[in-house]
């Protein structure tokens, strides 16, 4: 799976879990400010990503993750 395809899948998960306009899920989008996602939304998003990609993301790796790009980096590093 190439990075573009991975990002598309990442985006699909984000749109579904956070119920946001797909156009808003861009690398520089901030979860809290731009996507109106709180901490539990992020937990749910990570759960969805783990299920979609068959990966395991420990809680500790999510500390300091504030943007779509940062979250995608954590996910890509497991693929």
């Amino acid at each position: 799976m190439g990075p573009e395809e991975s990002f598309e899948q990442f985006k699909e998960c984000a749109v579904e879990v956070l119920q946001v306009d797909p156009a808003k899920v861009v690398p520089e989008a901030r979860f809290a400010e731009d996507l109106d996602a709180d901490s539990l939304d992020l937990v749910e998003l990570v759960m969805a990503l783990e299920e979609r990609f068959g990966i395991d993301v420990p809680e500790s790796e999510l500390e300091g993750v504030e943007t779509v790009e940062q979250a995608f980096k954590v996910v890509s590093s497991k693929l």
Binding site: L40, V43, E59
Partner: protein, 353 residues
């Protein structure tokens, strides 16, 4: 007091068991999110969005004046009093008395005393002459208790009074702005009794993962509950879904066959996430969390009582119970609902007082 004769499976002659009565009890003091805002920086909207909780009841803690006695001489602390109130109501509704009960099972993670079990003074207050014991499986407690009650009935007990009762306000860390707003107090009780016919407990699953103690705990004399909320959220959803699927499989029924899903009331978002993954429509969730918060062992019988009292259950309906809690523990059960016992024909053992 005359000794209670032990039940004998041979004399019992019944195969099934049923929940034939249900009731709940809540302490008077309502603690709103606005009350919580007097303790630390938070807001009603923040709490509601993350948890679905608007208010909870408290029998102890900073909003109750005067504070209940720490050591009541008769052993009837706040957990025991709530348990007694719910248990009494369930017995009365069924036309039963304490001496119709072979076993009292009290599920609680906030026992009034270290010794004895809180079920002991409750049994005395309800004039129960059978056995009594506490079960502490945290928020999975009631479902553990339901499987236990059904097992005792299968072993020959005629009736088990199963109660979930909590005073979480006593073990809440009221300075912890990450979780103090979650917890509430209350009790719920059901009568589980032997009935002729098929078993009501169609499938069940219980478990524990003791490597996860650090996710949620409270120490003796400590500041109260400590919880890693996000970690608990994630584990709770997965563990509960897996457990519920095992119970459904053992019961040989599909999620679509479930008329009412009664999850432990921890957080409306956890409840919704579990239901969604199981494929159970939101309308089939029994939820009281808005008004009660997380009442641990008491949450399932309180939610069940509210659902049954508002006509959401008919005879033959399949109910799915599922809980998870500190430990981490989990338990789920598929139960066939039979409805209330016919109070017009009281049991032969009812005293003629």
């Amino acid at each position: 007091m005359a000794p209670h004769s032990s039940p004998s499976p041979a004399a019992n002659g019944t195969a099934g068991c049923a929940i034939t009565s249900w009731a709940s009890a809540l302490p008077e003091r309502v603690v709103t999110n606005t009350d919580i805002m007097t303790l630390f920086d938070t807001s009603d909207q923040w709490i509601v969005e993350r948890t679905g909780i608007r208010r909870r009841r408290a029998a102890d803690g900073p909003f109750v004046y005067p504070r209940p006695p720490a050591s009541p001489p008769d052993g009837l602390g706040t957990t025991a009093l709530l348990a007694t109130q719910a248990g009494q109501a369930a017995l009365e509704k069924a036309g039963l008395a304490g001496n119709d009960i072979d076993l009292l099972v009290l599920c609680t993670t906030s026992a009034d005393q270290l010794v004895p079990a809180t079920s002991s003074p409750v049994a005395h207050a309800l004039s129960i002459r059978g056995g009594a014991m506490d079960i502490n499986a945290a928020c999975a407690g009631f479902t553990y208790g339901l499987v236990t009650a059904a097992s005792f009935v299968a072993a020959g007990a005629e009736r088990v009074l199963l109660i979930g009762a909590e005073t979480l306000s006593r073990i809440t860390n009221w300075h912890d702005r990450s979780n103090a707003f979650l917890f509430g107090d209350g009790a719920g009780a059901v009568v589980v009794e032997a009935v002729p016919g098929e078993a009501s407990l169609l499938g069940w699953d219980i478990g524990v993962d003791g490597s996860l103690v650090a996710l949620c705990y409270a120490d003796h004399g400590g500041p109260g509950m400590a919880m890693r909320g996000q970690e608990v959220f994630r584990r709770a959803v997965r563990i509960t879904v897996e457990s519920a699927l095992r119970s459904l499989e053992r019961a040989k029924v599909a999620a679509a066959d479930i008329s009412l899903f009664v999850p432990h009331q921890a957080n409306s978002r956890i409840m919704d996430a579990i239901a969604e993954r199981l494929g159970i429509p939101k309308e089939r969730i029994a939820s009281v969390i808005e008004d009660t918060g997380n009442t641990s062992s008491a949450s399932i019988p309180i939610a069940l009582t509210a659902a049954a009292d508002t006509g959401r259950l008919s005879a033959g309906d399949l109910v799915l119970f599922a809980g998870f809690g500190a430990g981490m523990t989990w338990a789920s059960a598929v139960w066939r609902w039979t409805g209330a016992r016919a109070t017009s024909s009281p049991p032969a053992t009812l005293p003629a007082n």
